[in-house]
Symmetry: C2
Subunit: 401 residues, 2 copies
Amino acid sequence: MISFSQAQEIIYNALKAPWLKTEYIPLQEAQGRTLAEEVTSEVDLPPFDNSAMDGFAVKFNPGIRSWTIKGEIPAGHYTDFIADPISTVSIMTGSRLPEGFDTVIPIEDVFVREDNVILNTNAMFTKGMNVSKKGQDLMKGQTALGKGTFLKSPQIAALAACGRGKVKVYEKLKIGVLATGDELTEIDQAPSGDKIRASNLYSILSAVREINMIPVNCGIARDSKEEIKSAVSSALEKCDILITTGGVSAGKFDYVKEVFTDIGIKTLFHRVNIKPGKPVLFGLMEGEGHTKPVFGLPGNPVSSLVTFYLFVKTNIMKCFGLSEQPPLRAVLKKSITKSDSKRHFVRGLVSRDELGVISAVPVGQQSSGNLVQMSMSNCLIVIEEERLNPQEGEEVECIMI
Amino acid sequence: MISFSQAQEIIYNALKAPWLKTEYIPLQEAQGRTLAEEVTSEVDLPPFDNSAMDGFAVKFNPGIRSWTIKGEIPAGHYTDFIADPISTVSIMTGSRLPEGFDTVIPIEDVFVREDNVILNTNAMFTKGMNVSKKGQDLMKGQTALGKGTFLKSPQIAALAACGRGKVKVYEKLKIGVLATGDELTEIDQAPSGDKIRASNLYSILSAVREINMIPVNCGIARDSKEEIKSAVSSALEKCDILITTGGVSAGKFDYVKEVFTDIGIKTLFHRVNIKPGKPVLFGLMEGEGHTKPVFGLPGNPVSSLVTFYLFVKTNIMKCFGLSEQPPLRAVLKKSITKSDSKRHFVRGLVSRDELGVISAVPVGQQSSGNLVQMSMSNCLIVIEEERLNPQEGEEVECIMI
């Protein structure tokens, strides 16, 4: 059995290999994707000195406090004016500053009578104020965004400013999900006898969609070596990464690990010192094309989703340039019983009261079958290995889910 | 001018009206949507007492420490056995407990010789242990998920467990984005003279996609009353919510507010005491169908995106059942100059060091034109109205972006 952080290291090292394919897509579709090229700007940003305010452009002279209006420059309608210390030009936010003018006085700070502009007595007046300088955001030829940058709206805006209507991104991974277990029925069937609905097939496919990858439904395999073998082999042909659920614990009919070995998947670990989700397997299938990572998640629906978040999501997003968000710190509102040396991930509810205090409370019974109770939580409260029985009032870290 | 919290209240009250349309969609596509019905379970969850471990089922008797194996129950293969205190049944995780058996001993805690199972000396042995009771997650007929629940993977799992292959959700909103300004060119054109690329059209469309709504590109309108009027009118026909950028500050050619009034949009506010983004307008267009909210965001690319996050995203997500995540608390790594009484949202970078300390540092010059610098940030550091010049080492709240 290995530790949580050892498991994370093994997975990340296996995933970070440069095996991702690339494609060009329109910028409008690039939100949530990852840049596969370095993007530089072919113009200065901004491309010219411009006004950050609506007001009056002047050529700064500390002794002069009134000016004569020589004209105006609406944004997008540049005109040249002769710069001298007693002339001013009416200017709008974003308008290009006329050559020789270096300072903008906001409209609120002046008194205007006919063609004359007079600075208010207490107004600030310093050289260069309210001017966005040419190239202050980025100089021509400099890197705007590096290869591997995860693209959210601010990055899309920067790419648009660089004139990139198309961008090179990494292809989405096809992630297959295969549920195993004789007890599973399709969700649209009423489960009879001792059957249950294969909810984890849907939750993991949905979680794959949540990380903006392509979910591939590989269905349900019964607890027979042959059936699992054939299902895993055919699933591996269709996807870049395979996730199975169930069949990885110590039970007599837990064939998944054995099957993986039989078909040539090299298991890197199969138990991690955590709760829930101790039986979780990670392996690599080396093939003709590229190596395919394989995750054997536990069959309990809560455990499979928690281990997906911890091991699959975190590491794939890291490979795609999205760093894990720092955990929230919260005050524990109810003591938690923990007497072992595992790292626990307790389903909880984080909230912020009117005074700004952030607190976390465990939700439900923490049984790894209790899905509905998990659906009422919004975080995993982390109880570290060495920590025992954290008490009400103590600080805990929470991973938002 | 109104305060930030007043603005939020006005927007939320206007948006929360029950004007959302509904549709039925397959569960596989429901991730990121919002439930428009209450879902109850037609079975107990779990539907029967089952084992939480691989091990041995017994009928508990405190005085008995060894048992005779009478058979086994793989998950999904229930068989009846006669329950008595000296018999046991080999059982797997998830297997249905045979009638009359009430306790499960984990396989690690016993010594097995032929048909005999002997409890290890120090093993825990209490009645009911390691059994997931029928209905412990949810009783038949109880509500699994309420109307208005935002659906992420845990909620999808709960819906699958309730057998819901299709669910009723709120339709996505069509959100139109119209950029205004004579200085704007399409991003695939090299901007000449004093033109700049319409980056905010792309960033706001992308931000709409980020909140899982339908972006409608309404293009660029020049700074002429007639052109803005016709563009706004035709945009309003195509969308549920309209966002414009630019034309809302004090400049001579800022026609947006005037045009809104002309065509019957009732302005609820047009300036908020924040930085960046003081000139931001919110109004309502009452029409034959339903009332359409209209946001007039500032034209500066940083301001437009920041005000989108603060006003549009936050309130729409709240209406769709996704509460705002509590802000991260971080230690400020560099003092910030702030001498006014506005609420500031400073672009920053939050990180967590090896000791677990979460810190935030402002990124770049904070000019509202500096898009590339904004693209290097991952949060907005909030400096409250009454707070002046927060110093290095002080605690700040950060909104992750």
